[in-house]
Symmetry: D2
Subunit: 328 residues, 4 copies
C-alpha cells in the first residue's frame, strides 16, 4: 500500500514554455485545497540535488498565472545523470519529508523522472511543458498554443513589409524534430509553403511551387521553415539556392528565435495548465505514479511516462492538405 | 442523384466572430482548388434576397485571414423569415447558377438554412461562427478561442489596477445562455468567482466566498459574470448588493462589451476556419447536404444541422471544479 | 543650507497608471547609483501615516519595468487630509531617517505633497503619473501613451464588428475634465466624431455630422465620448437621442472602463518613467524641492508643484482640426 | 506666382514603416476636404515612371489607418536615378494633370524628390516615414514609435526565457547608422548594456560591465545591439568573444529582423501620420515646396528638404546616462 502523501514537490525542467507558471500555481493551490504541503524546487533537477527548496502556499503563487517563463527557473543538470546526483536528490526529498514529485517539462525531463522512480520508488507525475507539442499522450503540450500565437503575430508583421515590397520571406520557427509549430502557424500565417522535418519536399518542388504561386498573381510570398526541415539545408542556404534559381524575387530571411518561448500564456494554455496541475496532484493523492497528465479528446487523461517518452506524435496529414489547398 | 456542383455561394450571418474572414477565404480557395466557381453573398440572407452577390477567386480573399469581422458583412434579415423572401433568394441563386450554399453563423442562421433546404431542396452546409461556443457538434466554434484571449487580456489589465487599489471588480463577459467564455476566461484570468447561466450560485454564497478569499489574504478580487448569469441580477445590481453586504471592499464594474467580437483571430481560429472551409466545400462536392462541419476530438466531422440546432452544449463540470480549486 | 540627502522615500498615490512601476524602479536604482538609501512606502499617503515602509535596493525592483499597476499600491487617504495624519507621517519619515520624498501621482497627490512641505519643510518632488495627461508642466504624463494604445486597440476591435454590421458605436473613454485621451485615440481609431469636455458640440451638430458621414458612403461609424463630455448627457442618453433622431442606424454603446488603467507600459512610458525617476532623485540631491519633473520639448524640466497643480493643460486645437479633416 | 494646385499625387518610397498607410489616408482625405483631387502612385518612383497611378477619394482609404505596410507599395527605383526615368515620371504627372507630389519615405527618397524639383520645378513635399528616426527636422519619424513597441515586446518575451535559464542574450535591433531604436528599446526592455553605432564601448568594457552586473546579483542579462554598432563585430562574433572571455554564462543570440517594420501602428504614429498628411497637403496648397513636415517641440513644422537630408540626428546623451544608471 502506498504511503499517504502529505507533501508534494514541484519543479520545472528543460526549455521553459509559457504556462509553466500557471502549472506551478495549479499544483500549489491544489495541494492547499487538499490540505497537503507543497515545496517548489529551484532550477529543476539541479535544485533537487542541491536541496534548493522553498515552501509554497496558495499566496506564494499569486499573480503568476499570466507570466511567461518559470518562477522556479529551469536548468540542465549533468549531476542528475549520475547515480550519485540522484541519490543526493532522493536524500534531500526524504529529509524535507516530501512524498511525491511533479515534473513539468519535456521528454528529457520525464526520462529523468522515470529513472528516479525506478531507482528509489519515489512517486512521480509528469506535466508536459514544451512549446514543441512533441509529447505522446496529449494533444497539446503547455505553451504550444501560446507559441503559435507568437509566431503568427510575427508572420503578420513580416507580411506587412513583404507585401509592401513584393518580397519572398523565409521564416524559421522552432521545431527540430517535429513540424507542429511550422504547420499550424504556416496555415494561420497564410504561408505559401511550409517546410517541416517530417516531409522532404525537395528544392525543385519548392521552386516550382513558388513560381506557380507567382504566376497566379501573388506578389509576395512567405515560406515557413521548421528548424529541422528535411531539405537538409539551413535557412540561409535555402535563400542562396532560391536567389540563384528564381528570378525577380527579393529574398529575405527571418529567424524568429527565442521569443517563441516567452510571453504571457494564452487563455488556452492557462486553462490547460490549471487542469493539468489539478490532475497531477490528485492522481498522486490517488496513489498513481509514473504517469504524465495529458489532454486527450478534451479530457484529462493519464499516460504511462514510459509511453509518453517513447511514443511519437505524428503530424496531422489533414493539415498538410489544408495548407496545400489554402496556397492555391 | 444530386446535381454536380459547379458553383458555391458563401455568406456570413448573425453576430460576427473572429475567423469568419478566414472561413470565407478557405471556402473560396477550396472552390478554386477544385476548379469550381464561388460567389460571396453580402449581408447574409438579406443579400441573398437582394441578389447582392460577388464573384470571388483565390486572389479576392488575399490578406483577410488575419482580419476580424467579415468582408461579406452580416445582418439580420426579416425578409428571410417570410416565404416570399426565401423564394426571391432561391430565384437569385438559380439565376446566378449557384448549386450550393455555405452559411457561416450561429444556430439562428442554421435554422434559416435548414428551412431553405426543406423548401427548395437547395444543398446547404453550415460552419459554426460565433464567439459563444454554444453550438452542438463542435468542441469549438469559430471565434471562441480569440474571444477568450481578448477577454483574458482585458482581465489582466483590470487586475493591474484592482491589485494596486485592493478593489473588487465585477467583469461582465458575453454569454447570454452559456457560460463557456466566463468559465474559461475566469480560470485563465485568475478570477475568484465565476457566475454563469448554468449555475445558480446564490448571492449569499458569493458573499461568503468573497469574504473567505479575503480572509485567506487576498487583497483584491475579480468576479467574472456572464451576461445571462442565473442570480437574476444585472452586474450593477450585483455591485449594489455587495456594497451593502460586504465591508471594506471598493467595488467596481466593467462591462467588456462588443470588443469581445473583434480583433485578429488567434492561430487556433485561423487553422480551424481553414479546416472547416475545406470540409464544408468538399462535403458539398461529395453530395452531402444539411450538415454542419465541426471539430470533434480533433477531427473534422459532420453533424446534421437539425442536431446542431437542437442539441445543447454543456458546461464542462471539470472546469467548474478547477475554478473552485484555483481560487483556494 | 539644505540637509544632505542620504535616504529617499517613494510612494504612488491616486489612480494607478502604467509606468508607475517603471518610475519606482528608476527612483530606486538612481538612489543605488548615487549610493543613497531608498524606502518604498505602501498605499500612498496612507502607508506614510501607518509607517508601512520597505527598504529597497536595486534588486528589489527587478522585473517590474513591464508590469502595469504599482507594486507599492495606491490608496486614497482621508488621514492625510488631517493635520494629525500628516504629523504622524512626518514623524514616521523622521524615525526612518528619510530625508526626502518622491510622490508619483496626479494633482491631488501633488497638493498633498505641497501642504506637507509647507507644514514641515520636508523636501518633496513630484512625478506625474496619471493616464489623463491633465498635469501642467509636462507634455506627457506617465501612462497616457499606454492608455492611448489600449483604447485604440479596443476601438480597432469594435470597428471590426461595427463595419460588419453597419452599426454606429458610441465608445466612452476616460477623461472627466480633459479630452486628451478621446481626441488622440479618436483620431487614431478613425472616429467620425469625438466628444470632449472642452467643446460643446451640441446634439444637432452630432446628428448632422453623422448623417453627412452616412451620405458620403460610410456604412458604420464610431463616436468617441470622453466621460466628461460637454453635451451633458451620459453615453446611454446619447444613444437614446440618436435612436430617436436618426434613421437606419443600429446604435450600440461600449464603455471601456478600468482596463484603460492597466497593461504593460509602452516603450514611451517606460523610457519616460526611467528619465523622470533619475531627474526626480538627482534634483532632490541637488537641493531642489517642491517641483514636479516633466517632459517639455523633449527634455526633462522642473515645474514648481504649485504651477503644476494650478496650471491647466489645454487641448491641442490642431488635433481637433485634424480630426474634422480626417472624418471627411 | 505658383500655379494653383488642383491635384496632388502621393507615393511611398524606401523601406516601409508602420504609419505609412495612415499618412496616405491623411493626404487623400485632406485633399478631399479641400476639394482637390488626389492620385496614389504605386511602388514609389518606379510607379511614377511607369504611370502606375490610381485616382483616390476619401472612401479609397477606408480601413487602412491601422494597417502596417503601405497599400501603395514601395520599391527601389534604379530608373529614377537616370535623367530619362525622371523625364518620364514628369511627363506622366503632367499627363495626369498632377500639380504636386507628396513623398513618404526616408532621406534617399527625399534626395530623389529634391533632384526632381530642381530639374522640373515640380512642387514636392516630404513626410518622414522610416522606423530608424534618422531624419533631421523631426523628433519622431513615422513608424519609430511602433517599432520601439514591437522591439520591447520581443525583449519582454526573450527576458522570460532568459531569466528562467540564467542566460545572457544578445538581441540585434535595426539601426545601421543610428542607435535610436537600440537606446530607447534597451532602456524600456531593461537591458544591461546597449551597443550603438554612435559609441565605441569596447569589448573589454562590455565584459567588465557584464561581470559587474552578475556580481550585483543579476542572474540573466540582455544586451541590445544595433545593427551598425561600433565594436565592429557582428552579433555572432560578439557571442563568440563573450563565450571565450566570460565564465558561467550561457550566451544566446536573437536577431529581431524584419518584423520590426510591420504591425499595426501605435496611437502615436497614427496621430502623427494624420497630422503630417494635413500639414503636407496644406503647405503645398499654400505654395510651399521642397520641405519636409516634421514634429518639433510638439508642433508641425517645415524643414527644407535639403536640411532634412544633410542634417544629422544626434543620439540623446541623457538617455545613454539613464541607461547606465538603470543597469545599476
Amino acid at each position: 500500500m502506498p504511503k499517504t502523501i502529505k507533501k508534494i514537490a514541484v519543479l520545472t525542467s528543460g526549455g521553459d514554455s509559457p504556462g509553466m507558471n500557471a502549472a506551478i500555481r495549479s499544483v500549489v493551490r491544489t495541494c492547499a485545497y487538499h490540505n497537503i504541503e507543497c515545496v517548489g524546487v529551484y532550477r529543476g533537477y539541479e535544485g533537487l540535488i542541491e536541496g534548493d527548496f522553498k515552501q509554497m502556499d496558495a499566496r506564494s503563487v499569486k499573480g503568476i498565472i499570466n507570466k511567461g517563463g518559470t518562477i522556479l527557473k529551469s536548468a540542465r543538470s549533468n549531476g542528475f545523470r549520475t547515480e550519485e546526483g540522484r541519490k543526493k536528490a532522493f536524500q534531500n526529498l526524504v529529509d524535507a519529508e516530501v512524498d511525491a514529485l511533479v515534473v513539468v517539462g519535456g521528454d528529457g525531463s520525464f526520462t529523468g523522472a522515470l529513472i528516479f522512480n525506478q531507482e528509489f520508488g519515489f512517486p512521480v507525475m509528469g506535466i508536459p511543458g514544451t512549446i514543441d507539442n512533441d509529447i505522446f499522450g496529449t494533444s497539446h503540450t503547455l505553451g504550444f498554443d501560446t507559441a503559435l500565437n507568437t509566431v503568427v503575430e510575427a508572420i503578420d508583421k513580416i507580411r506587412d513589409t513583404a507585401s509592401s515590397h513584393n518580397r519572398l520571406f523565409f521564416i524559421e520557427v522552432m521545431g527540430r524534430d517535429v513540424g507542429h509549430i511550422a504547420l499550424n502557424a504556416g496555415i494561420a500565417g497564410g504561408a505559401e509553403e511550409i517546410l517541416i522535418p517530417e516531409e522532404d519536399l525537395g528544392l525543385e518542388r519548392l521552386v516550382d511551387s513558388l513560381n506557380r504561386s507567382r504566376k497566379s498573381g501573388k506578389s509576395s510570398s512567405i515560406v515557413i521553415v521548421a528548424e529541422g526541415d528535411k531539405i537538409g539545408k539551413n535557412i540561409f542556404e535555402l535563400k542562396d539556392y532560391v536567389d540563384e534559381n528564381m528570378e525577380g524575387y527579393d529574398v529575405r530571411v527571418s529567424v524568429l528565435g527565442h521569443m517563441q518561448r516567452g510571453g504571457a500564456p494564452s487563455c488556452f494554455d492557462r486553462v490547460l495548465a490549471s487542469r493539468m496541475g489539478v490532475k497531477a496532484v490528485e492522481s498522486l493523492l490517488n496513489g498513481q505514479t509514473n504517469y504524465m497528465v495529458g489532454l486527450l479528446n478534451g479530457k484529462m487523461e493519464l499516460t504511462p511516462l514510459d509511453n509518453a517518452i517513447k511514443g511519437k506524435t505524428k503530424i496531422n496529414l489533414e493539415l498538410l492538405r489544408v495548407s496545400d489547398i489554402m496556397s492555391t
